[in-house]
Amino acid sequence: MLFIGIYGFLTRRNTLAILISIELMLNAADINFAAFNRLLFPTGQEGYFFTLFSIAISAAETAVAIAVMINIYRNLKNNFVDTLDKLKW
């Protein structure tokens, strides 16, 4: 799932698709934590706690990203990342 997310991040033009890819990567990492916790530490729950933290943080970060996207649309009238190339040589 992580590599699918990376591929999506690097190739999609729509900013929304990039956000979805980021979510995919984060969820992949969360699944990893939960699975290893179940496998290696049956009696402890630290892995689950971290996963919960990560989900919460990803939610917050998605909110901020949506706000950025809205601003981009307002300024550029489209949602394609290849138009965001002003900071170049």
Partner: protein, 653 residues
């Protein structure tokens, strides 16, 4: 006796320089001149007081003690045990120089009030005069040779600044550069001499016999450990001393480093009086006198070489002076000649038993006596020349003639100074020049007769100058248009004061000059050697008569006939025997063209070219890789990913 106030002698002129230099723009000319003159007046009073206290104090073993009120270690070199000190040393010769410098400087300050009236840069002039006074005083009060070198360079700088005072005029700028470069070049020899001397003796101090009295906890200068120098082959000390003398030769205008002094006359005339007649140019003589105990004990033959260099310089300068038409040039060559006399006097001292025998080292005392008297009458001559130039607005003798009608005070003072320089009693010049001749005869009668001959030439060209200005052919047309007038009191009072000194100093001191300054320190009563005295006075009178016969009347037929009979000699003497042209040829056609130009080419094309290439390379590379910064986030993320993968690979492997 507490000499703690002596630091004021150095501090006050320096403060005057800073104050006038920084705030001069907002001060009026009068204020600046008054401040400068008052400061120098205070310094003069302090110097006279110091001299009075020093010379009336008791002698120890018949010698005036060397007192060191201040001596700070400024720069210690721990490994070698060497250290550079700054301090004040009171010694018969330094106290005598204090009197000379402060008197002449004060007279020049007062005189410049009138001479430089209305000039642009008046305040800057007084600031530089203050700096010069401080530097020269620091030079003579130095406790060690390095401090002397420090102030030596500083007087060189002041000379540059003051010669180039009229910096908008080409000749002045060229002359100031020439003066500074020639003396700086000579100072290279001085520095090497100091370094050799310091290395072999382990000390720079002038306290050769460890007998100085250090007051107020001044750090003692370690006396030179001369044994290492003696052991290191007998030529070390003479070489070091001779190299130091080369520096002195540059500063004191000995042949062939004399070229800067005639050109230095481009500066204002009071500057010529102060720097290039009375004080700075005697720095070389003073240096040899300071190191005299070493010269006479360890390098007596080198000392005789110094004498012959001096004799040749005196002859050369006297010959050139006979043919100059610019009055300041005549006086400049006269200065070169007289300073050469002083060097000869120092050079003819004989080593046997000399350090307990004042008679064999008569030259030492004679040289310093002549230094004193020469400073006074040469300053008078230059200041008179300034009055004349002020009246006639030109340096050339063709605009003068018959000036005795218009300028009586200048006339009388100039005449007295000319008589003094010719060695006519009872003026001061007779006493000092006579002693030099006696010392020269003691060493070698050939040299004695040569110096007598040069003294005769001195009398001749000085009276040629005198008659050319004040009698001779008057330029009536010019004088009708610009009537020459006597100078204001502020310019004539210094003349009168210096002339009074010239008249009296020969016979007015209780005990003669030798009782204050002599080679061993013990009092030395000067007796006039009748043979030498009568010879020199009669030869001088004959020369004066010759000059009168040739130049005193309204036309000079004999002079013209002589010039027609020996045109080449006259032309060569007029052009100073083409020494300046030789220097120009060597520097421009040989050194600049064949050495400097290739080096400049190398610097510009190869050294600079390398750095230009590096810059070009950087530019080209950056042009190629600029596409990496595209502004596209996804590309950045890709690069980031690659970087992470490489790092992981590196960590695994």
């Amino acid at each position: 006796m507490d000499y703690t106030y002596t630091y004021l002698i150095l501090l006050l002129p320096f403060l005057s320089f800073l104050f006038l230099g920084l705030t001069g723009k907002w001060l009026s000319h009068r204020t600046a001149g008054l401040i400068g003159t008052l400061v120098l007046g205070t310094v003069a009073v302090l110097s006279y007081y110091t001299a009075f206290e020093y010379f009336t104090a008791d002698r120890v073993n018949g010698i005036f003690q060397t007192l060191v009120p201040y001596n700070f270690t400024w720069l210690p070199f721990y490994d070698e045990g060497l250290h550079f000190d700054i301090g004040i040393m009171l010694d018969p010769i330094s106290v005598m120089m204090l009197i000379v410098i402060s008197t002449v400087s004060l007279m020049v300050h007062i005189y410049s009030f009138g001479y430089m009236h209305g000039e642009r840069g008046f305040q800057r002039y007084y600031a530089f005069l203050g700096l010069f006074s401080m530097s020269m005083l620091g030079l003579v009060l130095a406790t060690n040779i390095f401090q002397m070198y420090l102030f030596w360079e500083l007087v060189g700088v002041c000379s540059y600044l003051l010669i180039g005072f009229y910096y908008t005029q080409g000749p002045a700028v060229a002359a100031s550069k020439k003066a500074f470069i020639v003396t700086r070049f000579a100072d290279l020899g001085f520095l090497i001499g100091i370094l050799i001397y310091g290395y072999y003796t382990g000390s720079f101090s002038f306290d050769f016999t460890n007998t100085a009295v250090y007051l107020n906890g001044a750090a003692p200068g370690v006396g030179a450990g001369l044994s290492k120098a003696i052991a290191g082959a007998g030529f070390i000390l003479p070489t070091a001393l001779f190299l130091m003398f080369i520096g002195g030769a540059g500063k004191s205008a000995m042949f062939p480093l004399h070229i800067w002094l005639p050109d230095a006359m481009e500066g204002p005339t009071p500057v010529s009086a102060l720097i290039h007649a009375a004080t700075m140019v005697v720095a070389g003589v003073f240096q040899v006198a300071r190191m005299f105990p070493l010269w006479i004990q360890y390098a007596p033959d080198t000392l005789h070489i110094v004498a012959w260099i001096g004799a040749f310089t005196a002859l050369y300068a006297a010959a050139v002076a006979c043919a100059q038409s610019d009055i300041k040039r005549v006086l400049a060559f006269s200065t070169i000649s007289q300073i050469a006399f002083m060097m000869v006097a120092l050079g003819v001292c004989l080593p046997e038993g000399s350090f307990t025998d004042n008679h064999a080292s008569l030259g030492y005392m004679a040289s310093l006596y002549h230094l004193f008297t020469h400073a006074m009458f040469k300053a008078t001559l230059f200041l008179c020349a300034g009055c004349i130039i002020h009246a006639v607005h030109s340096n050339e003798m063709e605009f003068m003639g018959g000036m005795h009608k218009y300028m009586p005070i200048t006339h009388i003072t100039f005449l007295i100074a000319c008589l003094a320089i010719s060695g006519i009693p009872p003026f001061s010049g007779f006493y000092s020049k006579d002693e030099i001749l006696v010392a020269a005869f003691q060493y070698s009668s050939a040299l004695g007769w040569i110096m007598t001959g040069i003294a005769a030439m001195t009398a001749f060209y000085m009276f040629r100058l005198y008659f050319g200005i004040f009698w001779g052919t008057e330029n009536k047309a010019y004088h009708e248009k610009h009537k020459p007038h006597e100078s204001p009191a502020v310019m004539t009072v210094p003349l009168i004061f210096l002339t009074l000194i010239t008249i009296t100093i020969g016979w007015i001191l209780p005990g003669t000059f030798g009782s204050y300054v002599s080679a061993t320190g013990k009092a030395y009563h000067i007796d006039i050697d009748m043979n030498v005295a009568i010879t020199s006075v009669s030869i001088a009178l004959i020369s004066i008569a010759l000059a009168t016969w040739i130049y005193a009347r309204n036309s000079q037929p004999i002079a013209n006939r002589l010039k027609a009979a020996m045109p080449q000699l006259h032309k060569w003497a007029y052009h100073r025997f083409y020494i300046d042209d030789i220097y120009q040829f060597v520097t421009h056609r040989i050194i600049f063209a064949h050495i400097s130009r290739p080096i400049a080419w190398f610097d510009r094309h190869i050294v600079d070219g390398f750095f230009n290439f590096l810059a070009w390379g950087t530019n080209a590379t950056s042009y190629q890789i600029r596409t990496l910064q595209s502004g596209r986030v996804q590309q950045y993320a890709l690069v980031f990913l690659f970087g992470v993968l490489i790092l992981i690979l590196m960590l695994i492997l």
